[in-house]
């Protein structure tokens, strides 16, 4: 087996173990270390008691007999749900189900189409989240990258100072700008919808549908772009300033390379690994949606589902979303390892020698 493959297999195993641990911790936390089970048992006993009390068949039983019956039926139900086993054993069963992506059924939540399957709950929300937040993230990333790069060339200029002074505007979150944008473009100008995914009723033809969705995307997108505009450019500018003080950049300048080539080959190329990392993680995190922005714009995304699941203590949904993200992040890290090797010969050599 070539050394690079060995290294990658090793990395993949380590990443898997990390996902395993993270998922297990989530299971423990989401179940409050087994306390949720006590609540569930009480709930079962209560439901069984109600059922027995209301069942005319048991009307003639004495209170003692009723209590005994309730206890017996409750035990059966608890056993049926597997709650008689100690939590520690069940926690590992949950872990196995989660890790094999057998996400099970939600306890309280239903998907928009009425299904209880956790998988469907997640899959129904994910596309909208990707559509809005991944688009926003990608736009912000490129604004920051190219804005920062061109600003780093104008170090100390008026524009440079202006961006530095305006960068604290990004301390205000996107949804807050969103409220203002809704006020301007909906309440005042009446040109854009205040929220939602699509017009009601949805346009029947696909083209009209897509246009309607795009129209609904403008304000939430804009709110995120405005919010991270200056800080994105500012932080990238500082990043590129650091990379452009390297000696080899000065050498390239002395060699008479045109500024564009210096930027491409001597600043961007060596800076590629951190840029790729930043991009990859921004994209992965965008998949988890954003709770408040989704609320403000009434956008049916995953962030809202996660928030509801936490509020309802719907353990299967919480664990399901977590494990899906665990895998996504691990996969991203793994792909990054390969990309690093491709863009930076030093890392490639390190991978070859690692074993």
């Amino acid at each position: 087996m070539p050394p690079v493959v060995k290294v990658l297999v090793k990395r993949a195993l380590i990443l898997f173990v990390i996902v395993l641990i993270a998922t297990y911790i989530t299971i423990l936390v989401a179940n409050v270390g087994g306390y949720i089970d006590d609540l569930k048992k009480k709930e079962i006993e209560f439901q069984v008691a109600q059922a027995v009390q209301n069942n005319p068949q048991y009307k003639d039983l004495s209170p003692a007999e009723k209590t005994a019956l309730i206890k017996k039926l409750a035990q059966v139900e608890i056993k049926r749900q597997g709650l008689d086993q100690p939590f520690i054993i069940r926690s590992f069963r949950y872990l196995w189900d989660a890790i094999t992506l057998d996400l099970g059924r939600a306890e309280k939540m239903t998907s928009d189409s009425g299904s209880r399957s956790v998988r469907i709950i997640i899959l129904e929300r994910l596309p909208q989240t990707i559509l809005l937040f991944t688009t926003a993230t990608v736009i912000n990333f490129f604004i920051g990258l190219f804005g920062g790069l061109s600003l780093s060339r104008k170090f100390g200029s008026f524009l440079d100072k202006l961006v530095i002074y305006l960068s604290p505007t990004s301390a205000i979150p996107g949804w807050f700008y969103g409220i203002f944008l809704i006020m301007i473009f909906y309440t005042w100008l009446h040109v854009l919808p205040p929220g939602g995914l699509v017009d009601y009723p949805p346009p029947p033809d696909p083209v009209g549908y897509v246009l309607s969705v795009l129209k609904h995307m403008i304000l939430p997108l804009l709110s995120w772009v405005v919010s991270s505009f200056f800080i994105g450019i500012y932080s990238n500018r500082t990043f590129f300033l650091l990379y452009s003080t390297e000696d080899y950049v000065e050498v390239a300048k002395a060699k008479g390379l045109p500024p564009r080539q210096i930027e491409r080959r001597y600043i961007l190329r060596p800076a590629l690994p951190p840029i790729i990392t930043q991009f990859a993680f921004a994209v992965v995190f965008s998949w988890s949606g954003a709770i408040i922005t989704e609320t403000v714009f009434n956008w049916p995304g995953l962030g809202l589902a996660y928030y509801q699941a936490i509020n309802l203590v719907d353990v299967p949904v919480i664990v399901g979303i977590t494990v899906v993200f665990g895998y996504l992040i691990a996969a991203t890290v793994f792909i990054l390892e390969i990309l690093y090797g491709l863009v930076d010969p030093r890392i490639k050599a390190g991978m070859g020698e690692a074993l």
């Binding site: 100390g156 080899y248 002395a254 008479g256 080959r265 190329r269 030093r346």
Partner: protein, 318 residues
């Protein structure tokens, strides 16, 4: 006609504390095939001088003026774009200080050596790489290394690559800015021998910037002492080492041990002046044991049979 004639070159830059007079009215000239070594303590402005010649200015530059004639043309008057295309690396190339960091870590060394040919000579990449291969052989590195990355080479090899890169366009003038400072003594000697050999073979013109007087003496036809942003002594090597005139140069030479004679090593008292606020008049005055009243006025450059010195001691001897 001198190959390079520098007249009253000035380069000041701004800092939060004030203006740093890194290059302060410097003049000198070099003939083709000559080597001028410029020596001085750290922070005396030698590197700033070399950068000012090739117009690599710091971002916070405040004043940049004077005349630099290359083959009779004042290159200070060229636009940035023309300077880049016509002067940089075509006419003047440079071997940088701390060459370990002078190579782009993610480009193959061959590409970096060949790059100037592609930009300035309009060569195709293949052809340029062929030339680079040839050049790399000339500086004593096996051809196979063209396809390696800088981190796969030792410090000495990298410095040789940087030298190959500086010579690839066959420039009129090569500025060597502390070319061996980051290397160990053995490698240093090898690189110096390489520089000497190349000079002889290719009739190169060097400006050699160093703080190491012994190294300078190996290569120099002409010597200059730089102190606090100014050139204070300029002479043929023979005259400079044989009969140094400026008290600072005398002390500088006195502070270096030599093999042939038994002498007392005397350090120079005091510290180099702050370029933010250099002493008025002669800048060496506060450290000079021969200082006089007149030294409070700035001395002009006196010339004694071509041996130039910026010191009041020689005012009557011109």
């Amino acid at each position: 006609m001198a190959l390079l004639k520098v007249e009253d070159l000035v380069m000041y830059y701004r800092t939060r504390k004030g203006t740093v007079k890194a290059v302060d009215h410097v003049s000198f000239e070099i003939e083709k095939g000559e080597t001028l070594a410029i020596v001085g303590e750290s922070g005396c402005g030698k590197s700033s001088l070399s950068r000012a010649i090739i117009r690599l200015l710091p971002r916070n530059v405040e004043t940049y003026e004077g005349k630099v004639f290359l083959n009779g043309t004042n290159i200070m008057e060229l636009s940035e774009e023309r300077f880049r295309k016509e002067v940089r690396w075509r006419k003047i190339s440079m071997v940088f200080q701390g060459a370990l960091n002078a190579l782009n870590p993610v480009l193959k060394v061959g590409e970096q050596v060949a790059e100037p040919l592609v930009i300035h000579m309009g060569m195709g990449k293949k052809e340029a790489l062929k030339e680079a291969r040839e050049m790399i052989k000339q500086v004593g590195i096996a051809e196979a290394f063209v396809d390696r990355y800088p981190f796969e080479l030792s410090g000495g090899m990298r410095q040789r690559i940087v030298i190959a890169m500086a010579l690839i366009t066959d420039p009129d003038l090569v500025i060597l800015d502390e070319p061996t400072s980051a290397l160990d003594v053995i490698t240093q000697a090898n690189v110096m021998n390489l520089l000497k050999r190349l000079k002889k073979e290719r009739d190169l013109t060097y400006i050699f910037i160093t703080h190491d007087i012994a190294l300078a003496s190996e290569l120099a036809d002409k010597m200059a002492t730089m102190y606090a942003g100014q050139i204070i002594e300029l002479a043929d090597s023979e005259s400079y080492f044989g009969k140094p005139l400026h008290p600072y140069t005398q002390k500088l030479l006195g502070s270096v041990p030599t093999l042939r004679e038994d002498k007392e090593i005397a350090p120079i008292p005091g510290t180099p002046p702050n370029l933010l606020n250099p002493p008025v008049g002669c800048r060496f005055r506060p450290r000079c044991d021969q200082a006089m009243e007149i030294c409070e006025k700035e001395p002009p450059m006196f010339s004694l049979d071509g041996h130039r010195v910026k010191c009041w001691l020689y005012r009557g001897e011109e």
